[in-house]
Symmetry: C2
Subunit: 171 residues, 2 copies
């Protein structure tokens, strides 16, 4: 077992029946776990300056800011519609039924910024793909998308074929 | 002007008419700002081991995890009802009209834990007070409540008279 995996708690039927939820709360609650996971995420990042780390609402904020601190980068919030106070740019993406959207501030990325996109879980990949499009619309370059874990059955990597995708854990 | 204050952006009429919102996005986006704010928050924390830092959903997650990393503490999420997957304990608090509640996992705090409660803004203080009650119900000790900024007109400190309250900025 990977040293991070021991801190992940399985929750049956959350958020709805038939879903096995992977809870990262025990990983965060133990400083050894938090620190080890941050080190593994950091070790995946390619050499070279990272100008911005983007954290996807809201569990992507958790390790996203720590990664930004460690990489000496700025941190950018990607949020659900209506949550960001300043002028925003939005990108919609498909859900199983219907669609949703994700927003960033229009001044979050500068032309030429080298950007790391981070979230806790890579599921269908729709949100991360939408965030990558926003980065590119603003003139940035996505250097990597990294995640604590991927849920392989949901094929999220297929939406992110244009990018370097790294995950600490794979289920 | 405080070196942190230069990174705070005023947004008129967000989230609704008549509210002047203090946006921390520019502070996060600039590594110098992020790093300086973290240092100021860290400098406020009393000596002695901090076992857990609690971040209040969702902007409290941003500096909360970085503080936990810096203080060599575990990190705990305080979330709105229904968001945490494991067994929870809840505390309700009054709003201007009606009430809301905040939850933590029942295993988030161990008896005797020395705890730092963190959020971005101290407004009415209701949420932070509810989180402090949860900490105490679980047998922990609130060592400090700290915030990036307080909105003095809302008198949040009156709800937190039992605690050490520290804020980097005051409006």
């Amino acid at each position: 077992m990977n040293r991070i995996e021991q801190y992940i708690r399985d929750i049956q039927d959350f958020p709805k029946n038939g879903i096995l939820f992977k809870d990262i709360a025990p990983l965060l609650q133990d400083h050894k776990g938090l620190s080890a996971c941050l080190s593994e995420l950091k070790a995946m990042v390619p050499d070279g300056q990272i100008d911005k780390v983007i954290g996807i609402e809201s569990r992507g904020f958790l390790f996203g800011t720590m990664l930004a601190k460690r990489l000496q980068s700025g941190f950018v919030l990607a949020r659900k519609p209506g949550k960001l106070p300043y002028k925003t740019i939005a990108q919609s993406y498909a859900l199983e039924y219907g669609e949703d959207a994700i927003e960033m501030h229009i001044d979050a990325i500068q032309k030429g910024d080298r950007v790391l996109v981070h979230d806790d879980v890579l599921a269908t990949g729709g949100t991360a793909q939408a965030v990558c499009k926003l980065v590119e619309t603003l003139g940035g370059e996505v250097v990597q998308c990294n995640f604590i874990m991927e849920l392989k059955a949901l094929n999220g990597r297929e939406k992110l074929l244009d990018y370097d995708v790294q995950c600490v854990l794979s289920y």
